[in-house]
Symmetry: C2
Subunit: 325 residues, 2 copies
Amino acid sequence: MLRALYRLCCAFLLLAGSAHAADPLPSWREGPLKQALLDFVQRTTTPASPDFVPPLERIAVFDQDGTLWPEQPLPVALRYAAERVRQRAADIPEWHRREPYKTVLQGNDSSIARLGERGTLQLLLATHAGMTQDEYQQAVRHWLANSRHPRFERPYTELVYQPMRELLQLLEARGYRCFIYASGGIEFTRSFVEAVYGLPPERVIGNQAKMDFQLRDGRAELVRSQRVHWSDERTGKAGTVQHYTGRRPSLVVGNSDSDETLLKWTASGSGLRLVLRLYHDDPEREYADRRSSSVTPAQARERGWWPISVRDDWLQLFSPAPPAR
Amino acid sequence: MLRALYRLCCAFLLLAGSAHAADPLPSWREGPLKQALLDFVQRTTTPASPDFVPPLERIAVFDQDGTLWPEQPLPVALRYAAERVRQRAADIPEWHRREPYKTVLQGNDSSIARLGERGTLQLLLATHAGMTQDEYQQAVRHWLANSRHPRFERPYTELVYQPMRELLQLLEARGYRCFIYASGGIEFTRSFVEAVYGLPPERVIGNQAKMDFQLRDGRAELVRSQRVHWSDERTGKAGTVQHYTGRRPSLVVGNSDSDETLLKWTASGSGLRLVLRLYHDDPEREYADRRSSSVTPAQARERGWWPISVRDDWLQLFSPAPPAR
């Protein structure tokens, strides 16, 4: 009898396991949105489908800050930049009088957050000019390995939203090339994109530091300058995506007004497109952020976009914490 | 007796066929260079090799004009730009007095060639401002389908060097991501990169037109401006490769002094790198071009680079012409 029960349990676990494995989006709550995601992938990657997209044309774009991981209370690159400024401020007294340094040295998270992408880039350029990209990325990786999110007390790279990771992996598995729009200079995100997302650095797009060409001990090196290579001055993120990928994406996810041109441009493409807009409406598990969006979920729906509610659509936000070492 | 001979012939053809299929570089003459190419691929893609390069890190870069196809007597994008200027010159009388238009309207191929990449970009921007990238690329594709190289009398896209195509395909088959550096604005080359190389548009890198964001009949569009997005102002092509790919390549091929920073930067990387420099030394089958290179093959060798001789290293230059329709 016990033996029969044991066998029954084993069979059940096996079945449950395979059912779970068959769902590529287990962190998404069942409902119309999840079904829309699955349908989109199915329709664009099935050769017989009228909405079939040839493999070379399969592009998806994810905004990073606030879409792939939290940008509250500070975007991660800006947190890093602010710490670097504080470390070096003793050597550069004029920073106490000059913006954006002054805000970093005298302000709090919420005033620093208002420095935005321009401020972040300026701080990162000032504190890392003359470094090669390799040196810069090693510094970033070292910081990431030793820093924790103030609320969640986990490394930032463990705070990639699990539902987004599942969506990205599903798309990659079905032949999509996913690009990540990174604010505050793309080399910051390129430093961990392979380890965290399994994607090569060319999949990270956005503004970046201009470089200079130098010979060091006979070796040719590219070093970071203090000038910015803007890819989206007049076009917003839409222009950045065209710049790097040469193509209007089939699927796009953003969370703030800074994603506006990208979402509109994607939605304006012919054929099947999926435009997703994430809303941070879950102060219990995360944050409530109304500041970054002037478009309500209802307005997004009217435009044919899908709002994503953190509170209602996501069963879990983060992967379970790994066991303490 | 005849039947036995027939069978012998069949067996021989089969054997010869499979020997040919086993050689991924049949258009390259047997010798140290061909062996170096095969060794490099083997050593960097075999997991047990001390020179193994993980798949995400496998980047190769090919210059396009003069490396992947002829740039004599005129680079293809410049030929296209010059024709567009001539077509529209009747409407814009001042072009007869203003450079670079004046050179196009009054010069010959060799004076037009001296306009270089800056001239090409300026001409393409002036003649295509206000178009979406889709419209521009359709115009380019239409022209390519109806134009012939003045000497070889074949469409330009049939003049991709067969040995280079084989090398590119071998690298792609072994997990490398090949990038193409295109002069004169990358959207020109992106218009045919899928059809000709089987690569997606993000694999084409270089300078490009800046864009503006517009609403047209309620649809969001990116349109070409007259401003240039320079990716290589101070760094040459090395900076462009870092900009787009985020990585120093493992293998690089160029043919002129404009590739200098890219070749030096690649060679300065740690680990196994292969730096190739193509020399056009075959006026019989193609062109002799000493102008574009101040580095001799012997000097290239001293630097640890491999010179490629069109005359000595390539058994055939182009794929056989398809049968006339």
